[in-house]
């Protein structure tokens, strides 16, 4: 503190004598210096001082300094020291925890979560988060470490917002993943914590983290830290893996495909001298996490195919064996044992191979007993912890789930033929548990036994053969009979409810069981009395509901072999003694009850206190399936019985009824007629359809033929032309035509020639004639001249123009 004070003095200058500056004033000055100093050294010193004050004067620093600190982050990136101070300061003011120093001094104590408020302020601009993310890339310890811490702090306060921002920042998750490879352990470990926060409940981030080889990195770290004996870092790694896998089918698939299941093996190696070494609390935590991890892979909530492949892989990697070893080892803490039993249960649940393996596991006791027997011994033992007993029941249920052979084996141990063996059997333990004085044992055993009967009609009938020797000398009674008697005798609610669930499961879909039950003296009377009772406390309404349910089962699965309690009689009984409406509402009590909602949620038996154990998962399923059937059956019975009471109606009503009956009969007849007609029409339609089909077939055949013929035709034509080419013919014809034309033209030509010749001749003749005329003309002229006539020589000159003018 002295150091800080001297540091402060050097930054702020010596305080003025007399007046001590308040925290707020100091902070204001420092903030001012951070924003306005031009020298880096000054800003850096001021930042360092702010950091020193940020715990005690958190409110002041946060309120005044946020912008300044942000400005430093943007402007002074190059200086690692000042960035470190700034990040550290932000980390302090946004921290979710309260600092001791905070309440000192004179600042007002506020009840609000200061860290969250400042976080909100800081992330209002998402770029701020990106800025911090970018500092993760800086290798310098002074920057990287506070950046990791600041992000963790922001995540703690505003997980959703930060997750969204990281998801959209480019390479945001990748940057965080790179931190796991940092050689400085502090950073690596803090990065683990950061990733645990970041992956909580965000499937997209979980997938990206897995994609970035998270499982490889984490297994590397776990190996480095020494597997199970490693410290809290191993636990952190496992917690992160759990986050990545929980409810994330894609990642579970990836985990399985990446052969990471096999890599879990060293986690289960228990040293031989574990009893001397003891279980350190860290080791207990670590193994707890691994068991959780295994259970996440094979959770009944996963898709079936994923779970069954994981179950197979776990067995092939010898992890089921390792789990069973823990189960049978000495000195294992109870809570680990409980969780291991649960884990074994889920690894074998519904997987026949694993169930068969589990069957063969022997406990190292003397004499050696099957593990199942040893476990059931704990279940019916009052001295064992409650949660352990629940786990055993769950494990036993998982062993029987979809396992007809296992169910048969358990029932077999109760049948007369095998009683000569002296060894303690599962069946004996359960029967003992059914009727001992511990109500919880009764409940556990009833539920366990009911699971040997689920969806297994053969075992329901086999179990009817089981006889119990009660008192010496008296007749042995059947197990079902004894259950029905015990139901009436016991005054413990838990035992009664257990019995009712067992009987319901047993008698549903099993008419012989119903018949035996109906023959038990007082059984029906008990159910009727309970169903019509009106108490509403201590979960009595649940008991009433269950009794109503069992009555309903007696109606629905009744083969009328017991005279007094035929289907009809029983429905009348319900109608008259209880009333249908009351009955239905009593049935409804079951599903309205809060324990129903809890039990129906998951197969695992989960309860804090022994008294909370009332209903069970598989029974809830049965109830859900049958409730509607029962109500429907009773309704139908009621309508039937209405017909029976027609004698009680008045004459007028009777008349009306008869009228209606006639009407109905008429309608019925018409309906039948219509039906007949419909059938005829349908037949006709069928015939027509057949015909149509036939026709269509012929049609298509014809079409085919047609096509074929066409094809053949065209093929034929082609072949024809190729054999006797027609083109020459055409040419010939053309030729002939041409020749004819030519001839014609020649003829014409000859004719024309002839004509021409004639014309020429004519012309010649004419010319000759003309010359002749000329000559005669000249002769006449000459004669005329001779005769002394003056004659113009016009024509002469014209005619003899060539030589005559010169002569003149």
């Amino acid at each position: 503190m002295e150091y800080f004070k001297s540091g402060l003095k050097s930054v702020l200058g010596a305080p003025q004598p007399g007046s001590q500056p308040t925290g707020a004033e100091t902070v204001e000055k420092l903030v001012d210096r951070v924003t306005s100093s031009t020298l880096l050294e000054d800003r850096r010193d001021a930042c360092r001082a702010l950091k020193a004050l940020s715990r005690k004067y958190r409110l002041e620093v946060g309120a005044q300094g946020m912008d300044a600190l942000h400005q430093v982050l943007e402007a002074d990136r190059a200086d690692c020291e000042i960035i470190g101070y700034s990040l550290d300061t932000l980390c302090n003011i946004t921290s979710a925890e309260k600092f001791e120093e905070e309440n000192e001094g004179n600042n007002v104590h506020l009840n609000v979560n200061v860290g969250e408020q400042f976080t909100e302020m800081f992330i209002k601009n998402p770029d701020n988060v990106s800025l911090v993310l970018s500092f993760l890339e800086e290798y310098d310890f002074r920057v990287r470490w506070p950046a990791v811490k600041l992000l963790t702090s922001l995540l703690t306060n505003k997980p959703k917002d930060i997750q969204d921002i990281v998801l959209v920042s480019p390479m945001g998750v990748s940057k965080l993943m790179d931190l796991l490879a940092d050689s400085r352990e502090v950073i690596r470990n803090d990065a683990l914590l950061l990733l645990i926060q970041l992956t909580k409940g965000n499937a997209n981030i979980q997938k990206i983290v897995a994609f970035e080889n998270a499982f490889d990195r984490l297994f590397d770290v776990i190996k480095e830290e020494g597997w199970m004996d490693g410290g809290i870092v191993v636990e952190d790694c496992l917690l992160l893996m759990l986050n990545l896998l929980k409810n994330n089918t894609s990642n579970i698939n990836f985990f399985k495909e990446g052969s990471y299941i096999q890599k879990l093996a060293p986690m289960f190696e228990i040293p031989d001298n574990i009893e001397e070494m003891g279980w350190s609390p860290q080791k207990v935590s670590n193994i707890h996490c691994v068991l959780q991890l295994v259970r996440t892979l094979v959770s009944p909530n996963n898709p079936v195919q994923i779970t069954s492949v994981c179950q197979k892989n776990l067995r092939n990697a010898n992890l089921l064996e390792a789990l069973c070893n823990i189960l049978m080892a000495n000195g294992v803490p109870a809570d680990i044992l409980t969780e291991t039993i649960n884990a074994v249960g889920e690894v074998i649940r519904g997987n026949l191979n694993n169930q068969e393996y589990f069957c063969t596991v022997m406990a190292p006791s003397n004499p050696p007993r099957p593990a199942i027997v040893v476990l059931l011994m704990s279940m019916v033992n009052e001295k064992q912890p409650f949660s352990l007993r629940c786990a055993v029941l769950y494990c036993f249920e998982c062993f029987l789930f979809k396992n007809e052979i296992g169910q048969q084996q358990v029932v077999q141990t109760l049948l007369p033929s095998t009683t000569n063996s002296t060894a303690l059997t599962t069946g004996q333990l359960l029967c003992g548990g059914l009727f001992n004085i511990d109500p919880l044992s009764n409940w556990f055993s009833s539920v366990a036994l009911s699971h040997t009967l689920i969806e297994n009609p053969a075992q329901k009938e086999q179990l009817l053969r089981v006889l119990l020797a009660t008192n010496l000398g008296s007749q042995p009674v059947s197990l079902l009979h004894q259950c029905a008697v015990y139901l009436q005798q016991t005054n413990k609610l838990q035992s009664k409810i257990g019995m009712l669930m067992l009987l319901s499961t047993w008698m549903a879909h099993c008419t012989p069981a119903v018949a035996i039950f109906l023959n038990v003296p007082g059984a029906m009377a008990f159910l009727t009395a309970q169903t019509s009772a009106n108490e509403y406390d201590n979960n009595e309404e649940l008991l009433q509901g269950l009794c109503a349910f069992l009555m309903g089962i007696c109606v629905v699965f009744n083969d009328n072999s017991v005279q007094n309690y035929s289907k009809e009689n029983l429905s009348q009984l319900i109608e008259k003694r209880v009333g249908l409406e009351t009955y239905v509402s009593k049935l409804g009590e079951i599903s309205r009850h809060e324990v129903y909602a809890k039990a129906a949620k998951q197969p695992q038996i989960k309860a804090k206190y022994t008294n909370d154990l009332l209903l069970e998962f598989e029974f809830c399923k049965l109830f859900k399936a049958l409730e509607g059937v029962i109500v429907k059956t009773l309704g139908a019975q009621k309508q039937l019985s209405n017909g029976m009471t027609e004698l009680s109606l008045s004459e007028q009503e009777n008349g009306l009824l008869l009228q209606y009956k006639d009407l109905i009969r008429d309608q019925d007849r018409r309906l039948q007629d219509s039906n007949r007609e419909l059938r005829a029409v349908a037949e006709e339609r069928d015939i027509l359809k057949a015909q149509l089909e036939e026709l269509q077939q012929t049609n298509s055949q014809l079409q085919d033929q047609n096509t074929l013929l066409k094809a053949q035709l065209s093929a034929g034509a082609v072949s024809l032309t190729s054999e006797n080419p027609t083109e020459p013919n055409v040419e010939n014809i053309e030729n002939i035509a041409l020749q004819q034309k030519l001839k014609q033209l020649e003829d014409e030509n000859v004719e024309k020639d002839a004509e021409l010749e004639r014309l020429r001749k004519d012309q010649d003749d004419l010319l000759e004639l003309l010359t002749d005329q000329d000559c005669r003309l000249n002769t006449f002229k000459n004669r005329l001249r001779e005769l002394g006539e003056n004659i113009e020589d016009d024509e002469d000159s014209d005619n003899n123009s060539a030589g005559e003018p010169d002569v003149k």
Binding site: M171, S250, F254, S259, N313, N316, A317
Partner: protein
Amino acid sequence: MSYAYLFKYIIIGDTGVGKSCLLLQFTDKRFQPVHDLTIGVEFGARMITIDGKQIKLQIWDTAGQEAFRSITRSYYRGAAGALLVYDITRRETFNHLTTWLEDARQHSNSNMVIMLIGNKSDLESRREVKKEEGEAFAREHGLVFMETSAKTAANVEEAFINTAKEIYEKIQEGVFDINNEANGIKIGPQHSPTNPSLPGAGGQGGSQGGGCC
């Protein structure tokens, strides 16, 4: 199951082009005509053989919707191969290829092998993008190209395997740094060059291998 190499793939492309169906056909050999929209990213895996070597393919099938783009971008960096898918019956999915390619090139390592896939080749009658156009686009951008049908399984196997072959060749040529897992390639446990020198690790690997099938 032991393997010589492990390759990480991503499948990208517009929504509804059949990315998830391609993956389902490749990993489970079945076709689901009605498929929900992929939310974020889904994972699938299968073993193949190339050149006599077992190669494990881990495939991340991404959501095509714009809203998931920032999430799917996180997967580019660590992938060795990418299948860029469009729908031959919807031209706009082809038109968007450039954007996808830019995005992929920007965020991935430069050696990532990208295979261009024209899916739904069974719907010839509704075809809007010619095969030649796909080929031309691939040639122009240096991609491998194929038309597939997730419905009939035509070329689906080939698409994934040819991409792996390409990556395998690049490894043989020494282009990929196989020791850097950020490239999306891992060497199998038995094939790691550092392992055989450690007898303890080798023995453990053997016993684990024996137990698993």
